[in-house]
């Protein structure tokens, strides 16, 4: 542990911490567009600069470790002015149709511009003019909005380990894409969406039909319903519907998901969902009430139990259902019906 003074307050923090991490733990918010806990600091956006007593330049807090006795100012006038300049430069090349942007309300750039009082474009720069790549069924890439923070490229390379995207061309023309700017859907991309989830602006966006009012979104933490990895994710709920999914920091997935967990939720409100109990009459299904369905089931159980005893019953439980439901299912067969004829498709 080392002692540092942050904004005049004495603090005790672990010695391997960066200034950014130390501040984050202490609840001091430093803006950054390119930082991600899971990968090494990159200092690409430079927004996280701070002032350290005795140093001339302003170092990036994401890549500077704390030192004993360090005196740090995170929001001094000098720092604020420098951040404002950085933001203005980014915005100079950024389209200003925020009202039209799908990411409005969720955009880090928008948030910081507001916070740092950037209202009009101070540096009039050249705007980019790329065609939006809509080829992938789950997300699109609008490179006109990209700020080249590089997060997506690094997530795809270093965490997802697919390496589908990279920086194409140089200088002002630098943009993110698959090799030779081939369409994303034709690339090595496995549609995990992990790049989309970290994009701080509206350059990589999930294809969502609904216009999202971010302030009204409810997030519900849950476990992915597909494979046995048990990835943790947040369901984003708007007006009683799930509109998107966000990876969460679970022990097995550490903020990653695969295509099924990330984009495979649309079956939930599919019109084919069963909504009422059905019984078959003359080879055709007709809707019925729960009461009636239970009555028919109970009647058949009674009859068969009387005639053949408990071993005439058998049940397929489900590796898709919850642990509690599996418990109750086997209990129904064992305790209520009296047979051990219960199994599930563990073998399949």
């Amino acid at each position: 542990m080392v002692n540092v003074i942050i904004n005049g307050h004495k603090m005790n923090v672990p010695k391997d911490y960066t200034i950014l991490k130390a501040c984050d733990d202490l609840g001091i918010h430093i803006p950054t567009l390119c930082h991600d806990e899971r990968i090494d600091p990159h200092a690409a956006c430079r927004l996280c600069i701070v002032e350290i007593e005795g140093m001339d330049e302003l170092p990036t807090s994401c890549s500077t470790k704390v030192k004993d006795g360090m005196k740090i100012k995170t929001h001094s006038n000098r720092v604020r002015k420098a951040r404002k300049d950085i933001l203005s430069l980014i915005v100079a090349n950024h389209p200003l149709d925020c009202i039209m942007c799908d990411n409005s309300g969720n955009c880090k750039l928008q948030e910081y511009c507001y916070e740092y009082g950037i209202s009009e474009v101070e540096f009039k720069g050249e705007k980019k003019n790329y065609k939006t790549d809509y080829s992938n069924p789950f997300y699109y890439s609008d490179q006109n909005k990209c700020i080249n923070c590089g997060k997506c490229v690094r997530i795809c390379n270093e965490l997802q380990c697919v390496g589908a995207i990279g920086f194409n061309e140089r200088g002002f023309k630098t943009h993110i894409g698959a090799p030779f700017d081939m369409e994303l859907n034709e690339s090595e991309c496995v549609s995990c969406g992990n790049c989309v989830s970290v994009c701080p602006v509206g350059a990589l966006m999930p294809k969502i039909k609904e216009r999202i009012r971010y302030e009204e979104l409810k997030e519900v933490r849950t476990t992915c319903p597909y494979c046995g990895v048990g990835c943790q994710m947040d369901l984003l709920v708007l007006d009683g519907k799930i509109v998107d999914v966000k990876p969460a920091d679970g022990p097995s997935n550490e903020n990653l998901l695969c295509v099924k967990g990330r984009f495979g939720f649309k079956f939930l409100d599919h019109p084919d969902r069963l909504k009422k109990p059905l019984i078959k009459r003359d080879g055709k299904f007709v809707e019925t009430s729960w009461e009636e369905a239970y009555k028919i089931i109970a009647k058949n159980i009674k009859k068969i139990k009387n005639e053949n005893g408990p071993d005439a019953f058998a049940g397929f439980s489900s590796a898709r259902c919850s642990t509690e439901e599996n418990y109750l299912f086997q209990k129904l067969f064992r305790a209520a019906l009296g047979t051990n004829n219960v199994d599930h498709c563990a073998r399949l």
Partner: protein
């Protein structure tokens, strides 16, 4: 899994066999690749040149159904070279002499012949595995879905014990469970021979305990497995079948037989979120809530119990499965009531030693949002990261050596190709969920058969051509995909699709012990249309 997913990044070597991890457990595969970047070695043994094979230090493209021979061969080399962990074997294992005796015959040359691989690669793999400090084995259905599946699983455990890799961090034997909660379903005794917590139904003490807890007379007779249930329904012994959240019409082997049985079963209840192929055959269909519409827990492949939480309402009158089951229980005179799944978990904890310390209070986000890994016997226990630490759970690690035996069907004149099957990245099991997600269907719209270029040219078939694939049980039509992912005598079909369903062809022959059908190896022929 004996070990945890997080431990993958710390391993020195991964041996991945019978698991196409990048497509079936994608997020685990990302961890494997990160381990490789950090310097871990990788051995892959699989009939298909799966994506991970590209990253492998040794890739063994084995003939389907020869896993046991492969493991025995690896152990032969390790013992011959004196690379076994003598201390570990001496202190922690038993029956070593029998293993030594059995694998003596499995020379690299003999095994290379059986598995259709190069003996040098086998030797290289054996040395790599044995010399790694912390070596971990990962396997999936490619190992278990054979008539020799249980013996292969034992052989894997033998191999891990031989090199002292059980009970250590970042090592172990790690079956990757395919379905979100197959672990929880097993833990809860959704199996014909055990109560929750793997307590045997034939054990009279256990029986008494549950009779008391459940206030009911219980049977001590081991019940039927799914394939046996279908056979019993076929001959009329089973008259009432209740299928919750499964779709045997697509997922079980020999679809034609399954359809006949389900059609003839006197009373079939199916409870699901969609009218699946199986539900179509039911007498009563009960509409269930999906994962996002209810509370509960899933237990993942590393034994971690994690919450699911209700985010939205179920459509129409659909109800959560737990409520439906309870109401059925109540309607036939078993009166126990639960107000919510948390109360069910309380009861689970009271009868299941491994879950003794699990409660919704502890799984709450602010308390332990990370979930708990069983065994977690008491409410102060922090859960178990890896098993068999210091000692094997049973006392000594027991070597259980077995000989290789061939798959039930071998190629012959009439059916010259070995067919294996599996999943693709974009779909899940029988597609009742993923098949209704537009983008996933766009990515993987239909069934196909992977055929090696040399086989294709012999048969005079071209890419995308529709062909007939025939086995002793049935025939399907599907599209040809020419690729050297498969060896010349092997073909692969994903099993997700109703049209061109692999399970029309698969062999229902069972592993005698685990009763798992031999999905991963049967013989077929391809005919031009």
């Amino acid at each position: 899994m004996t070990n945890s997913i997080k431990e993958i990044e710390g391993t020195d070597l991964m041996f991945v066999t019978g698991s196409n991890t990048t497509e079936n457990h994608p997020v685990i595969a990302t961890k494997m690749r990160r381990a490789i970047k950090k310097g871990a070695k990788l051995i892959v043994a699989d009939p298909r040149k799966i994506e991970l094979a590209d990253d492998a230090d040794v890739f063994l493209q084995i003939r389907p159904g020869t896993n046991t021979a492969l493991f025995n061969g690896l152990m032969h080399v390790i013992i011959k070279e004196g690379l076994e962990d003598k201390n570990y074997i001496e202190n922690r294992c038993e029956n070593y002499e029998a293993l030594k005796e059995l694998v003596k015959d499995y020379t690299p040359e003999k095994v290379a012949e059986i598995c259709n691989i190069n003996s040098k690669d086998l030797i290289k793999a054996a040395k790599l595995y044995a010399k790694a400090n912390k070596a971990s084995i990962f396997y999936a259905m490619g190992i278990t879905q054979h008539t020799t599946g249980t013996y292969s699983v034992m052989a894997i455990a033998n191999l891990a014990n031989l090199c002292g890799n059980i009970g250590i961090e970042s090592g172990g034997v790690n079956p990757l469970r395919g379905q979100n909660n197959v672990q929880g379903a097993c833990d809860m005794g959704a199996l014909p021979n055990v109560y929750p917590g793997y307590q045997k139904v034939e054990d009279s003490e256990v029986n008494k305990k549950f009779e008391k807890a459940w206030e009911s007379k219980l049977s001590d007779k081991v019940g039927l497995t799914i394939p046996e249930m279908l056979d019993s329904a076929d001959n009329g012994d089973v008259r009432f079948l209740y299928v919750m959240g499964e779709n045997p019409m697509i997922s079980d082997p020999d679809t034609n037989h399954v359809e006949k049985v389900l059609n003839e079963t006197e009373f079939l209840v199916v409870q699901d979120i969609f009218l699946t192929e199986t539900a179509e055959l039911a007498d009563v269909v009960l509409p269930a809530a999906a994962f996002a519409e209810k509370d509960g827990t899933f237990t993942n492949t590393e034994r971690r119990i994690q919450r699911i939480r209700k985010a939205i309402d179920a459509p129409g009158e659909a109800k959560p499965d737990w409520l439906i089951i309870m109401e059925i229980m109540n309607s036939i005179g078993y009166d126990k009531k639960y107000n919510n799944p948390a109360e069910v978990m309380e009861e689970i904890a009271s009868v299941t030693p491994q879950y003794g310390g699990i409660s919704y209070d502890r799984l709450a986000l602010k308390v332990d949002g990370l979930g708990l890994q069983w065994p977690c016997p008491t409410n102060t226990h922090q859960g178990t990261k890896y098993l068999h630490k210091g000692n094997h759970a049973r006392g000594k690690g027991l070597f259980l050596p077995h000989d290789h035996s061939d798959s039930k069907e071998l190629p012959d004149k009439e059916f010259p190709l070995i067919m294996t099957n599996g999943r693709v990245l974009y779909h899940y099991h029988t597609r009742s969920m993923t098949g209704r997600v537009k983008g996933l269907n766009e990515k993987a719209p239909e069934s196909y058969i992977e055929v090696n270029p040399s086989t294709a040219s012999k048969l005079n078939i071209v890419n995308n051509e529709k062909v007939k694939v025939i086995s002793r049980r049935g025939e399907i039509k599907t599209k040809v995909k020419i690729t050297d992912i498969v060896a010349p005598n092997v073909v692969f079909i994903p099993f997700h699709y109703k049209e061109g369903s692999a399970n029309v062809l698969t062999n229902p022959a069972l592993d005698k012990i685990a009763k798992i059908p031999e999905y991963k190896s049967c013989t077929v022929r391809i005919e031009k249309l």
